[in-house]
């Protein structure tokens, strides 16, 4: 019996390492042309990579394009790593690329889940590469604790953007009257931030705009539709506008208004800048939406570390608002919708901090 156990353990370890090996081969295959080449080739130049969830969603497709364009502008090698919503894959792809490039890697990561950020940052530091993270990271993980390898963390602030889009809504109906608001899942950080932004905007109207009712529709279009229908019954023409914490719910509200002959009469605003919402803005049914800027995050997440490795800046000497910062949301209204569509925002790769709008705040 006693003899059996170690051999069993050995067998298990063998099987595990075998599985790992297979996974490694799989990962390398995904990474690209790595497999046939000898694994450890000391690279002389920096390789750039963006890691993202899926090329299928428009946000990340543009995010990848930003990285590619920046790499092209400096003539560097570039790779896109796709996690497919799998944290394990995301991390192992980055590890494989670190090994292949001998640590000469600049990686711009939108971690699949907050805890992944810590593992990725530690791996990159160990290998001597440089990393920028986007949107998700644990609150207590800070770039300045991993100098110089953890260059920065970037995100977008829900509070001022929600406030700005709420003001567009107020403008659309003349600045006086009642509105109704659809919120996201009550415990989500973006939902909390966006509600706070709306509350701020309402408070600043000194009672001219009244919040008739607030209901969480859990980011769900159908729920938003049903709630908006009930609002039409309850408040009738007291409703001068509808605020939705994201475009999906905004579209649900818009369709409910359409069923009641109110589309285009009662303005709606949303956040995210999805295509359907931008089109609704053009059609005059949405008063506006906030578009994030994935081309900027995709390119700047590489341009800033590149500026550090080429000696243009010393990231360790930069202030904290250049290490953890918010980008600029773009307010899309009827005035700029057509232009936004045909001519998305430009990014100047040399203007490292131009679109930075302040240091990230921890509100929880």
């Amino acid at each position: 019996m006693a003899k059996l156990i170690p051999s069993l353990e050995a067998a298990l370890v063998n099987r595990r390492s075998l599985l790992k090996g297979i996974a490694g081969i799989g990962a390398a295959g995904v990474v690209g042309s790595a497999f046939p080449r000898p694994a450890i080739a000391q690279e002389a130049t920096w390789t750039l990579a963006n890691s993202l969830r899926s090329l299928a969603n428009p946000y990340h497709a543009t995010f990848a394009k930003g990285g590619e364009e920046f790499a092209k502008s400096i003539g560097a090698k570039y790779e896109t790593l796709v996690t497919e919503g799998n944290s394990e894959k995301g991390i192992s792809d980055i590890k494989a690329l670190l090994q292949r490039t001998g640590g000469k890697l600049i990686v711009n990561v939108d971690p699949n889940d907050s805890p992944d950020a810590r593992v990725i940052v530690e791996e990159v530091k160990k290998a001597g590469g440089f990393v920028v993270t986007q949107w998700n990271k644990p609150d207590d993980l800070h770039p300045w604790d991993f100098d110089p390898n953890y260059i920065a963390h970037m995100s977008f602030d829900g509070v001022p953007n929600a406030e700005a889009i709420a003001n567009e809504l107020f403008k659309a109906f003349g600045g006086e009257g009642g509105i109704v608001a659809l919120g996201g899942i009550l415990s989500n950080v973006p939902a909390i931030e966006r509600k706070l932004g709306l509350d701020n905007a309402i408070a600043k109207t000194n009672g001219k705009v009244k919040l008739l009712d607030f209901q969480p529709a859990d980011w769900n279009e159908q729920k938003a539709f049903d709630i908006t229908q009930a609002w039409v019954t309850r408040f009738g023409d007291q409703i001068k506008g509808v605020f939705a914490a994201n475009d999906g719910m905004g579209m649900g509200a818009l369709e409910a208004l359409r069923q009641n002959g109110l589309a285009g009469t009662v303005p709606v605003v949303g956040i995210d800048g999805i295509d359907a919402a931008v089109s609704a803005v053009e059609a005059g049914e949405f008063a506006g939406t906030v578009a994030w800027d994935p081309f900027w995050t995709g390119s700047m997440g590489l341009a800033i570390p590149y500026a550090h490795v080429t000696g243009k800046i010393d990231i360790t000497k930069e202030p904290k608002e250049h290490r953890e910062f918010y980008g600029t949301g773009i307010i899309v209204t009827k005035a700029n919708a057509a232009e936004f569509k045909s001519n998305p925002p430009k990014t100047d790769f040399n203007d490292l901090w131009g679109k930075v709008t302040g240091q990230i705040q921890y509100r929880s």
């Binding site: 299928a56 428009p58 009930a230 069923q259």
Partner: protein, 325 residues
């Protein structure tokens, strides 16, 4: 003595039969006391509109639950058929534009997915719970993959009129749901399949001994369910003017809740499509009423849960159940 007991039983049975309707009526009275706007014609039309798609979905799910099985593929089939329908009418991704012909195609795809449910469930003898869960996930997965995370927007006003059009002031979706209900009622009351479904739900072994083709009936019931979900998918696409993989989010829970609240037992054999329609209205009036009464969002879910338990306990005849699982 015996006669008295029998008559009490008769009264209880009558009460249970009418309990869901009584719950619905009580709910309507309660809401209108708080907010008289509830009783306006406009709100009535809005309630019908909110109920249309859930009614169509429940027509399918009721047959499955009457057999004592469960169908968790609702969201997958609805997402899949909504996406297919949106890609076949004039839209911003594909160049197809087959107009209203997209509806039967999508409904048939729903039927095919239902067939797959039934076939796998019966032939491979996998529990309906797992089978339909699997097929449902597959449907969601395909819908996601086909569109690659994008949303397809419908640019065909004729197709959209399936939801937005009005006849006698009532949205077209409501008329379609009414037609679906009449079809389901006919199947339940006037066809052998309808009777067999009850027989299987009451006691499958006896049904088999009585010569009922149980396997064939089961598969057919799943096909029927799939057809109804397909119609639901078409209506969802027409309602929102778009198709995407998340369009069916939350549909499964509403559907099963409505069927059960209406008084159809999850154990099978008891209930009807009429009950399910009442169940849908209980759920819809409740959601509408919460907003009309201005109940705090934080409290709403709790109230919803309590009322569902109350409705089920009033409607279900537990005295005849030896075991409650």
């Amino acid at each position: 003595m015996q006669a008295k007991a029998a008559s009490t039983g008769w009264y209880m049975e009558q009460w249970r039969r009418w309990a869901p309707l009584a719950v619905l009526a009580a709910l309507c009275v309660l809401v209108s006391l708080f907010n008289p706007n509830f009783l306006t014609v406009g709100n009535f039309v809005r309630l019908l509109n909110s109920a249309a798609i859930p009614v169509v979905l429940c027509m399918g799910a009721t047959f499955i639950i009457l057999m004592g099985s469960i169908d968790l593929s609702v969201e997958g089939v609805v997402a899949m058929t909504a996406v297919v329908a949106s890609l076949l009418v004039a839209n911003d991704i594909t160049s197809y534009s087959i107009g209203l012909a997209a509806a039967p195609v999508a409904i048939l795809i729903g039927g095919a997915m239902g067939f797959l449910n039934g076939f796998v469930h019966v032939r491979l003898k996998t529990p309906s719970f797992m089978t339909t869960l699997g097929i449902g996930f597959a449907g969601l997965g395909i819908a996601t993959a086909v569109l690659g995370g994008l949303t397809v927007r419908i640019a065909d006003p004729v197709f959209r009129s399936l939801s937005l059009g009005r006849f006698l002031g009532i949205p077209m979706a409501v008329w379609i749901a009414l037609a679906a209900f009449l079809v389901a009622l006919t199947i339940q009351q006037r066809t052998r399949i309808g009777r067999w479904i009850y027989a299987i739900g009451t006691d499958e072994v006896t049904a088999r001994h009585a010569g009922i083709p149980v396997d064939r009936t089961r598969i057919l019931a799943f096909v029927l369910a799939g057809l109804f979900y397909g119609l639901g998918g078409v209506l969802a696409a027409a309602q929102f003017g778009q198709g995407h993989a998340l369009i069916s989010q939350g549909r499964l829970f509403t559907t099963i809740t409505a069927v059960v609240v209406g008084g159809t037992a999850l154990s099978g054999g008891v209930g009807s499509v009429v009950n399910s329609v009442i169940g849908v209205f209980i759920v819809v009036v409740l959601a509408n009423g919460m907003v009309l009464m201005g109940i705090e969002p934080y409290v709403q879910q709790g109230v919803q849960g309590l009322l569902i338990i109350a409705a089920v306990s009033l409607a279900l005849d537990r005295s005849s159940l030896a075991v409650v699982k």
